[in-house]
């Protein structure tokens, strides 16, 4: 579902990723980890075409990103649910509208949107705050809104960048359970985190990034 072959990426002279090769199969649940600033976010951005590699080939959900046309990128992204590290919630829209936006982009019927959004907001336990603006939510609540928005369109690939950064152990566990559920529906899940607690004992693949390369791969 996600294939990297000899991918390199630099910002000016700063080499962030060098000759990265890995494959994540359809329906897999994997982690990417490493210290802060190592390039986890950059790697995810390459998956959804927010950054382009300097070298190497990337294939996501059947799309060869080297050949993808500008006009096709939105359709790729509709298949990728993203939990952004910096949230990217729209400050002037309510929780409901922020989540609904992902479906409006899909041109879904308003009634259906209402049902789907209501459902995911229940799943992240924020149904009672649907009419509130993001800035009036706690950090953890905002994070759950972002997660809700990423899952509501039932994407084939689910990327989460530090999804539990602001959550307590209890809520983290609930969220990780949600991710597992998404995964059992057949969605490929890739989570970037520097928190060992997240992958420890899960029995899932963990890719370690260090010095611009995949240093090792372990089973969590």
């Amino acid at each position: 579902m996600i294939q990297f072959a000899g991918v390199s990426k630099s910002y000016d002279t700063d080499v962030v990723l060098k000759d990265i090769t890995f494959t994540i199969d359809k329906g897999e649940f994997a982690y990417i980890t490493g210290p802060s600033g190592v390039g986890k976010t950059t790697l995810l951005k390459l998956v959804y075409c927010a950054e382009r590699p300097d070298e190497g080939a990337i294939v996501v959900a059947g799309w060869d990103l080297k050949k993808i046309k500008q006009g096709t990128i939105p359709y790729l992204r509709r298949n990728v649910g993203i939990v952004f590290q910096d949230f990217r919630l729209l400050p002037n829209k309510t929780v409901f509208d922020n989540v609904a936006l992902a479906l409006r982009i899909h041109d879904m019927h308003p009634q259906e949107i209402k049902e789907h959004v209501g459902e995911v907001l229940k799943e992240v336990r924020l149904k009672h705050k649907e009419n509130i603006l993001p800035q009036h939510l706690s950090g953890g609540e905002q994070q759950r809104v972002v997660i809700a928005r990423a899952m509501v369109s039932k994407p084939t690939v689910f990327l989460a960048d530090e999804p539990t950064g602001n959550l307590d152990v209890e809520t983290s566990r609930t969220i990780m359970n949600l991710f597992r559920q998404i995964n059992t529906r057949g969605t490929t899940v890739l989570i970037a985190t520097h928190s060992e607690a997240l992958y420890h004992g899960t029995g899932r693949r963990v890719l370690f990034l260090r010095d611009a390369q995949i240093e090792k791969e372990i089973v969590g």
């Binding site: 939105p74 992204r77 990728v80 992902a102 409006r104």
Partner: protein, 294 residues
């Protein structure tokens, strides 16, 4: 279709949300449109004056003294067969005198001093309205002037040609000014929408990352430009209607006959001018949004 509705909703919200900047834009555009409409209206009225007066005056062909009735009817037949002339009216000496007396009203006693009727008989001709341009009328007049038995041909050459020149100048000015104003309208909307676009750069970035198509992102801005244009069109039409009615009222208080000459506001001023304004506004916003790169 849903995308369209959602975009319209977003655009309307933005129109309201940014009401001050939008109000300013709408007012600037309406003033531009109002100037165009004013020009169209004035030109229209000049045309109307021109038409009406031409019709009233026509050509007056004064006959030489002492023509026989045979000679007179030859002339009449000639005019009747002239396809440029739509009506021929013979005014005899006596009729001319009577008309003059009626026109003078109370002062008509002056006429009693005349021993014999000094007025010549005449033919009053009305020309086809297509021919009522100064050069055509002049050509026709000189043609008739050369006929046997014709003493003099009168037509309102002075006012006709100067008014017609004025109307033509106005038309040229209206076209150039109108063109400049329409371009200015496109620029006004362009800069307003550009400001909105930059203000919402973050939001647009997020929309892109969520998989929004270009249309989804651009449509609200383009529609907002269109709404601004339409709103300005409505405002300028209302302004025009108000000003014109007021003016008509005030002027006809002094000069009752003006209402005959002044045309009711032409549809041309109400609809197409604002419509073209809305179109230019739409164009401005379209260019302002530009191409979206992912």
């Amino acid at each position: 279709m849903r995308i369209f509705l959602f975009a319209a909703e977003t655009a309307l919200k933005s129109v309201w949300h940014e009401k001050w900047i939008n109000l300013l834009t709408v007012l600037s555009i309406s003033i531009g449109l109002l100037i165009i409409s004013a020009f169209v209206t004035i030109t229209q009225n000049l045309d109307s004056v021109l038409k009406r007066w031409s019709k009233d005056f026509g050509l007056v062909v004064y006959l030489k003294d002492g023509l026989t009735s045979g000679e007179e009817s030859t002339l009449r037949d000639y005019f009747m067969h002239d396809t440029d002339v739509i009506s021929v009216k013979y005014v005899s000496r006596e009729q001319a005198f009577e008309e003059l007396r009626q026109t003078m009203g109370e002062q008509s006693s002056v006429l009693e001093g005349f021993e014999s009727n000094p007025l010549p008989p005449s033919f009053e001709l009305t020309l086809k309205s297509e021919l009522l341009t100064p050069s055509n009328v002049e050509r026709k007049a000189s043609e008739i002037q050369h006929l046997n038995g014709v003493d003099e041909v009168q037509y309102g050459e002075k006012w006709l040609s100067s008014l017609s020149t004025l109307a033509n100048i106005m038309k040229v000015v209206a076209v150039f000014l109108g063109g400049a104003i329409y371009i200015a309208i496109a620029f006004i909307t362009y800069s307003t929408i550009k400001i909105f676009f930059y203000r919402r750069k973050d939001e647009i970035e997020t929309l892109k990352l969520l998989g929004a198509t270009r249309t989804f992102i651009r449509l609200p801005f383009i529609l907002e430009g269109l709404f601004i244009g339409v709103l300005a069109g409505v405002v300028s039409s209302l302004g025009l209607f108000g000003t014109y009615s007021l003016l008509l009222n005030k002027i006809s208080a002094f000069l009752p006959s003006i209402s005959i000459v002044m045309v009711p506001l032409p549809l041309r001023a109400y609809i197409p001018a604002p419509l073209a304004g809305a179109l230019m506004s739409f164009l401005g916003s379209f260019v302002a949004v530009g191409t979206i790169r992912y």
